[in-house]
C-alpha cells in the first residue's frame, strides 16, 4: 500500500529509545524512493494528459487534476518521512560525538550506513575545529563537578598513562583516585567506571 513503508521508517525511529539508534533500514528506504519515482511518473503522465487535451493546467479541475494532486501529495509525504528518518538519525549521530567521542565502537558502526559514517566523521571534524579555535575541550565535564577527584575502577587494560606529571599504570580491575577531568574520556569510552562504595 502506498505510504505505508514510509511511515514504517518513522515508527522504527519512534520505537527506539531516545538517543539510541537502530540499524539503517536500507531496503525500506530504497522502496520508498522507488515509490516516489513511481508517483512522479504517474503525476507526469496525468499532467501530460491534461495538456494533451489542451486544457489549462492552472484551472482545470477534472478527475486527472485530482489524481495528479493525490500523487503529488503522496510524494511530498514520502519525502517528509524520508527526510525525517535521515535527519533524526543524523541528530542522534551528532549526539554520539558528545557522548562517546571521535571513535565509534564497532557495534554502533554496524548500525550506520556508509553515508552516515561519513557524516559522523565530518561533523566530528567540525566540532573539533570549533574546539581548537576556542582552545577548550568541551567534551569533558558533561556533569557538574562535585569533587575534583574521583575514585575509578579500570575495566579494561589501558596500560601506562601520563597523568598530571606522573605515570599511572592502569591495569584491569585496579582502583585509582584521579582527577575527574582525566578520568572522563576513559569513562565515556567504557574503559573505566566510577567506583562507588
Amino acid at each position: 500500500m502506498y505510504g505505508r513503508r514510509a511511515s514504517q521508517l518513522l515508527r522504527e525511529l519512534a520505537s527506539c529509545e531516545a538517543g539510541q539508534i537502530t540499524s539503517f533500514n536500507d531496503d525500506n528506504l530504497e522502496q520508498v524512493i522507488r515509490e516516489c519515482n513511481e508517483h512522479n511518473l504517474q503525476l507526469q503522465s496525468l499532467i501530460r494528459k491534461i495538456e494533451d487535451a489542451s486544457l489549462d493546467i492552472q484551472t482545470t479541475r477534472n478527475e486527472d487534476h485530482y489524481g495528479a494532486v493525490i500523487h503529488h501529495l503522496s510524494l511530498t509525504r514520502n519525502k517528509r518521512c524520508l527526510m525525517a528518518y535521515i535527519f533524526n538519525r543524523a541528530e542522534v549521530i551528532q549526539s554520539l560525538r558528545w557522548k562517546i567521542g571521535p571513535v565509534l565502537p564497532q557495534e554502533i558502526k554496524e548500525k550506520l550506513n556508509y553515508l552516515e559514517e561519513e557524516f559522523f566523521k565530518n561533523h566530528s571534524a567540525a566540532v573539533e575545529s570549533y574546539m581548537s579555535e576556542l582552545d577548550l575541550d568541551m567534551t569533558v565535564d558533561m556533569v557538574p563537578p562535585k569533587d575534583p577527584y574521583i575514585r575509578v575502577k579500570v575495566l579494561d587494560d589501558i596500560g601506562e598513562v601520563f597523568l598530571n606529571d606522573h605515570t599511572v599504570n592502569l591495569t584491569q580491575h585496579s582502583l585509582h583516585f584521579i582527577k575527574r577531568t582525566d578520568a572522563e574520556p576513559f569513562i565515556s569510552q567504557g574503559l573505566m567506571e566510577e567506583f562507588l562504595e
Binding site: I33, M83, P144, T181
Partner: protein, 220 residues
Amino acid sequence: MDSITPSGGRRSEDSATRGEVTDVDLLKRAWCNEKAAPEILHFEAALVQRAKEQIQLLEETVEEFTADRSDDLLVSLYQMDLDRSLFLLRSYLRIRIQKIEKYMLHISKTSLWDRLSEQEQRFAKKCIDIMEKHLEQSVLSRLPYGYQSMLKQSISSEEDDMVPEPQLDTFVFCKTKNDVGAFQLDDTGEEIVDLVADDLYVLRYNSIKGLVEAGRVDLV
C-alpha cells in the same frame, strides 16, 4: 581570608560580602537562561572572554601553589573553584553548539544568525554544508526533479516549509528581577499578569521573550 586571595585573582571573597555581582554569577545566569530557553540567545562575548581570562589566572594560581608545595587543602579548594568555573563555561558553550546543531538551518535564515559568535558562525556553516551533503546523497538527489530541495517540500511550495524550528510556545519557569508591572501575555490583551519583583512564574516563552532578551527576567 584576604591573605589567601592571590593578587589579580578572582574577587569573589571580597565582592560576595559587598553584595556585588561577579562574572561567575553572570556566567551562571547566562548559562541558566541559555539552558532554559528554547531558542538560541545572544552570545555573551565579553563575559566569556572575561571568564576565560579568570580561569587562566586561577589555573596559574593553582600551579603556583602546587609548585610551592603549599597547603593541600588550599590547592584543592582553588582546584574545585576552577573546576566549577570551567564547567559553567564549557556547559554554556556546549548548550549553544547543540542548539546550533539542531536548528542550524532555521538560525542561518533568520536574524538569530547575528546572535552567534564568529566561531559559532563558522561551525554552523560547516554543519549546514555537512548536513546538506548528507541529506543530498541519502535522499534528495534520488527524488524526482522538483522535489530535490532541502528547504522546500516541492517546487510548488512558496515558502521554506521543511526547516525544523524551535518550539517557542513551550512553558518556561522564570524569575523577575524587579517589578515589570502589568504585562500583556498575548496580542489581544486579554491575559495580563502583574509581574512583581523576585517572584517565580510559569509562562509561555513566546510571551516573555522580549523580557528575557532585555534582561528583565531570568529563566530558571
